[in-house]
Structures are given as structure tokens and as C-alpha cells.
Symmetry: C2
Subunit: 202 residues, 2 copies
DNA sequence: GTCTATATTACGATAGAC
DNA sequence: GTCTATCGTAATATAGAC
């Protein structure tokens, strides 16, 4: 069950870039990326600073891995079949739902992504990809508006921003419960309902 | 018109804690508080690092002054007469409107407040006062729900969080235009409408 | 009020032993 | 893979001249 009883290579109970990442992201989210030193990470991981450099090239690589994971999840939602065909309003609603689900499933990684400021190259790259994602959703909303399925008195760009503002704010307080699957789905329902009962025609 | 032609004390065109604060907050918001060094502030203000220490005790005092200003504005909204009397749903709507207006009027200060993490004493104090404000609004929503003016299928605590999530997300993209008063009011209208058309009964 | 110079500490990252 | 020791840099803050 653990990593110790593997078939061929008797893997030891040590850090991999993956497991170290989980620790690092947790600290990044608590203290902020810039507010986290390698010393902080070292303490949290229970190994020395220099040992961290054995697994990853440095602090920025940890950030890159984390935001990549978040972005991969979000873009995957856009690529799903149900986000590709059907009426635009239904595609928007589906992408909204899946975005919230990805946010919940990859909470620490998405949290970090949403707090990136742009001081390093990695952060600027992350911001660019985020804008790309937002634009794709904005295009979907635009199509739904063209179909007459969105109320006409709200600017599409503004509606997109408020929609994302509401969704993204979940990272500020949502904490997953063990075996809280039903609870999670109910939360997703509420978010989608709150968003679209204020957006949809009729 | 400028500070040079004052009646008694011929004030020189130099920094005060107030004017220096505006510069500092701007940099804090661009780079993040932890990502901003006194050197950054020095360059942005056009004076040396040590000159900054002549005006303020240090970096943290600038943060304290900034978040205080934001919090003062927000709490003032709760103290206004229209937030004190009348039907709860109307008080909620008024406070929502005023909160958005304060956010716009004090944008850089509120932005900084909303990004505080809790690494220093000042930050923890700010987080505590923010929670206090959120609680006051949540109480208003609770009263409105007791009056039957909010839809019953949404948890009050969740609704409060989503409402603030939407409002607070404005700091991520809203930028005031000179003489854009009408535009601002239209934005406030949209935010309030989007929030309550998804919340209000009927 | 502003400056240069500097004290002191913290940071990211590396060297090299085990 | 992990450690201790350390390098070079950048950080906050102070001293003291003008």
C-alpha cells in the first residue's frame, strides 16, 4: 500500500518532486510565495534547505510545477466534449460547473495560481495563461449572448469578470471535507445557480 | 492650488506620510507587500531609502496606515443611517452598494487590505477587522432571510461569501476613469443587480 | 529632509562530506 | 538523499554629514 512494497525498485519513503510540491504549495498559500523562504519550506518538509535543492532546481520551479498543475486542470475542462458542442449557454454552464469542480479538486494549486503577482518570469507566464483561459470562457459567454440566452442589460466582459470573481473567491474559504462528495456537489449547484439566475434570460 | 502657497507655513513640496503612502500602496499592489523592498519604494518615490525612514517608522507602518484607511471606509458604510434602519433586505442592498462605492473610491487601499496574508502582527489585525466587517454584513443577510426576503434554498453564510467574493474581485480589474462618475454608478448598479437577482425572493 | 555609508540580518543557492 | 558549512547578494534599518 505504501511506497515501500513496490515490485522491482524498493522505493524508499523519501520525497519526490511531487510530494515535496504538496508541502511547498501548502506553505506558499499560508505565507504567500514571496513571504516564504527556503528555510520555511525546509522546516515544513522536515529536511534541510540543501536537500530541497536535490529534488528541485529552486523555489521558482516549485511555483512553476504548482501553477502548471492548476492550469492543466482548468484547460482540460474546456477540452471536454460537453464544453465543445451543444447550445452556447449550456456549454457556459458546464464549463462553469467544471471550473468550480477543478478548483475544489486542485484547491491548493489553483489558490496559488490565483494569487500570482507577476514578479518573476514564471509568474508572468502563469498570468498570461490565466488570461487565455478567461478569454476562452468570455468567448463562450459572448456566443450565449448572441443566441439571446443571456440578459441583454449586462455587459459580457463585466459578467465574465463577476462570474470568475465569484468562482475564484472560493479559494479564500472553501476547505474540502473527507468523504464530502455530496456536500461538494451541492456547493457547485449553489454557485452555478447564483451565477446564472442572475444571468440567464427569463 | 498646490501645497506651496499655504497661508502661514510655506509648506515645501516634499513628502508627508500621506503622500508617501499613496506611492507605497501603489508599489505594494503591483509587487505584493512581501515582494516590495524599501529599495523598490525608494525608487518609486524618487528619494533614498533612509529618507523614507524620516517619514515613517518602516515598511509595516505603511501597511498599517493603508489597511486602516480601507477599514475605516468600510466600517463607515455600516454606520450610515440607511444601514441602520428600514427593512433588512434594503439595508443589505444599501450596504452592498456602499461597499462597492468605498472599494472604488479607496481602490488601492482596499486592494491591499484584501491581499493581506497574516505574516505580521499588522496583517493579523487587519484580517481580524475584516472578519468583523464580514460578520456584520452576514448578520444583516440573516435578518433579511428571517424576514423571508431572501431565497430559502441558499445558505446565508455561503451567500455572504459569494457576495463578497464577487464584490471584492473588482479590485482585480477595476480601474477608475477620470470623470467617470456615471460609468461608476452603472457598474455599481450591475453588481448589485447581479447579486440580488440571484438572491432575492421572486 | 535628504543624502551616502554602513551595520546586521536574512535569503537563495552551492560545495562537499557521508 | 541528506546533511553542515558557507558563499554572495539583497534585505531592513541606522548613523551621521549637509
Amino acid at each position: 500500500m505504501t511506497t515501500t512494497d513496490r515490485p522491482t525498485t524498493a522505493k524508499r519513503d523519501t520525497y519526490t518532486p511531487e510530494t515535496l510540491l504538496a508541502v511547498a504549495v501548502s506553505v506558499f498559500n499560508e505565507r504567500g510565495y514571496d513571504g516564504t523562504s527556503m528555510e520555511h519550506l525546509s522546516k515544513a518538509a522536515g529536511i534541510s534547505k540543501s536537500s530541497i535543492y536535490h529534488h528541485v532546481a529552486g523555489k521558482e520551479e516549485l511555483l512553476r510545477r504548482a501553477v502548471s498543475r492548476a492550469l492543466d486542470g482548468l484547460f482540460a475542462a474546456l477540452e471536454e466534449p460537453r464544453a465543445q458542442r451543444g447550445r452556447a449557454i449550456e456549454r457556459v454552464e458546464y464549463v462553469t460547473r467544471r471550473t468550480v469542480e477543478v478548483l475544489m479538486a486542485e484547491l491548493p494549486y489553483v489558490t496559488l495560481l490565483l494569487r500570482v503577482r507577476g514578479n518573476t518570469q514564471t509568474e508572468r507566464w502563469a498570468l498570461e495563461r490565466r488570461r487565455e483561459f478567461d478569454q476562452r470562457v468570455a468567448d463562450l459567454l459572448k456566443a450565449a449572448a448572441a443566441d439571446g440566452d443571456l440578459r441583454a442589460d449586462v455587459d459580457i466582459r463585466l459578467a465574465t469578470r463577476l462570474l470568475f470573481g465569484m468562482i475564484n473567491s472560493l479559494v479564500e474559504w472553501y476547505r474540502p471535507h473527507p468523504d464530502g462528495g455530496a456536500e461538494q456537489e451541492q456547493l457547485v449547484d449553489t454557485v452555478v445557480r447564483m451565477a446564472f439566475d442572475g444571468l440567464r434570460t427569463g
